[in-house]
Point group: C2
């Protein structure tokens, strides 16, 4: 998927962080911010921040810093957050429900159109006002409703089948929470959230931490 | 948190991926694997893989490749997965429930001891056999039960207070799903899962994709 990006994925992955911090500043009615202040808030160096923002033309002024509203709006636009995306959530378990109920995503332009599940007891119910459909109808629903992004919240055993139905239906992107990779045509963006990889990073760091603390004692 | 790691975080973050792919190979009864095959499966280059594994002493043999069982066990050990970690989940909403119900974490050694919430209607209930406690008792529970890792699944408004209670109670690590950073003493490992950052990466890539596909047409 990274081949679509003309700038480095490391930079791309920092943009949502800038966006989040700028949203906070906006909410606190802060009007302007220097790269030094952004550095203090974000933990990135000021030169890293200037370099990142320069990739997109650079919005700061020497001696003034950045206009918070402007920079927030520019980064929103760069991130494609000035558009609306139709989504479907596949898997109405706890995780699927968590995503449907997290209204921040909808406010950011990612609007759920339907939920899909295999469980007949769930089909027909509504979660946060979004109807649960039979997963059998996934491909046709995606096609008929011009769905942009499919969100996979199924067990591992189902995720490849679901990804294929989403792809055939014509989604442009897949957000995959199943603990397995999915294989789809090259022109579909796939973003995986493998939670165990994040958790195992903690256990690695706990082990290293223990060794460092042990050494310090002597 | 990265100061505890003697090797680069980029390498550390690839280890859980190797672990996952090796688990698959093990399950399929594959006995040995070359770095070329690992490259095909993981998408990393063979030289990247050899280099990564060399950071920890290198387990391969020229002309033979890697013994799948051995390598899996070694990486498990490096990731600290040969130990058991006591966890608490704070926030019994959909996300907290998803984590409690995802038994893979428990099988990997991360064993939930309790869930905490503010909602009196949830307190006293059990989710996947784990009791929901009043969040008022979080700090003392963590202290009395030697909890290693606190998992924050609360709304943004509560996460800093919860992180402080976890820190005072003596956790070594925090897995934070709240959409905000938390500030705790330096010797506590904090791993954030900011889902919006992952979602916004998709919208960025969709926008880039559209531009690339548009250019291709002409």
């Amino acid at each position: 998927m990274e081949r679509f990006s003309s700038i480095s994925m490391a930079v791309v992955r920092r943009l949502p962080k800038y966006h989040r911090y700028l949203s906070e500043l906006k909410k606190n009615d802060v009007k302007r911010v220097s790269s030094q202040e952004l550095s203090r808030i974000t933990g990135f160096t000021a030169s890293q921040i200037r370099q990142d923002l320069n990739c997109f033309g650079g919005f700061g002024q020497q001696g003034y810093g950045y206009n918070v509203d402007d920079l927030h709006q520019q980064i929103s636009k760069i991130l494609g957050l000035d558009k609306v995306y139709k989504t479907v959530i596949v898997g109405a378990g706890n995780l699927g429900q968590a995503i449907v109920n997290y209204t921040f995503f909808e406010k950011s332009g990612f609007v759920p159109q339907a939920i899909f599940d295999v469980n007949p007891r769930l089909i027909g119910l509504k979660i946060n006002d979004i109807k649960v459909h039979d997963v059998e109808n996934l491909e046709s629903f995606v096609k008929d409703n011009g769905i942009d992004i499919g969100i996979i919240c199924t067990p591992k055993s189902q995720c490849q089948k679901v990804a294929e139905a989403l792809a055939k239906g014509g989604v442009q992107g897949i957000w995959n929470f199943a603990p397995s990779d999915v294989s789809v045509p090259d022109d579909i963006i796939v973003e995986n959230v493998h939670l165990s990889e994040s958790l195992f990073t903690i256990s690695y760091l706990l082990k290293e931490r223990e060794e460092v603390l042990k050494t310090k004692k002597y």
